[in-house]
Amino acid sequence: MSVDSVFVHKMWNDVELSKMVKGGVPFPMLSDSGGKVGAVYGIYDEDAGVLTRGRFLIDPDGIIQGYEVLTPPVGRNVGETIRQVQAFQLVRNSKGSEATPSGWKPGKMTLKPGPDLVGKVWEVWKTDMAFD
């Protein structure tokens, strides 16, 4: 979503993005030309008249589970966004019985929070697991 019109979205997709991604952008490109939606989400830069790089993860109940906002010159890490979605999906599927520690990615161990884990995280989770 950006403040550009759907016509500009079409041109960007058709003349440039479709050369990077076969078949073009596979999801809807939204237009927020007045910045009204961005303002509600706290990412509309009124002085520049644009949206900043805000990214929101919304679960199947419509609840915001996470967000990240960057100023324009620094791009995002899509892999990290996907990792977060996978982690939130795992937690949701476990109905909250499992949690993903720092550095978790699919295949790595999860934590099962409860009285038995208090003071014992050090036994099952090592600091090098925070890194890839």
């Binding site: 979503m1 950006s2 440039e16 237009s31 644009v50 949206l51 929101f56 609840i63």
Partner: protein
């Protein structure tokens, strides 16, 4: 002579030049600008509709139509920006 704009990552914008026009309106004693509630993790994502371009068609997208699915809402400064 028009100056060539330095191309950066933000979309170039203009604005009015000179002193701001004087307004007869008195400043209200209390600011009336609506304070929008800040979004919060763990809280409902504000619903909205927005025009969209998708699969060769112009459509309208409503956030609440995606209930039951995970949504990544991704915003950026402008089409044809570099990052």
């Amino acid at each position: 002579m028009p100056e060539e704009l330095k191309v950066g990552c933000a979309r170039p914008t203009g604005g009015p030049v000179g002193e701001p026009a004087k307004s007869d309106k008195k400043e209200p004693a209390t600011p009336t600008k609506e304070k929008s509630a800040m979004i919060m993790i763990g809280k409902k994502a504000p619903d909205f509709t927005a025009p969209a371009y998708h699969a060769g068609k112009f459509t309208s997208v409503k956030l609440s139509e995606f209930l039951g699915k995970w949504v990544v809402l991704c915003c950026y400064p402008g089409d044809f920006t570099f990052v």
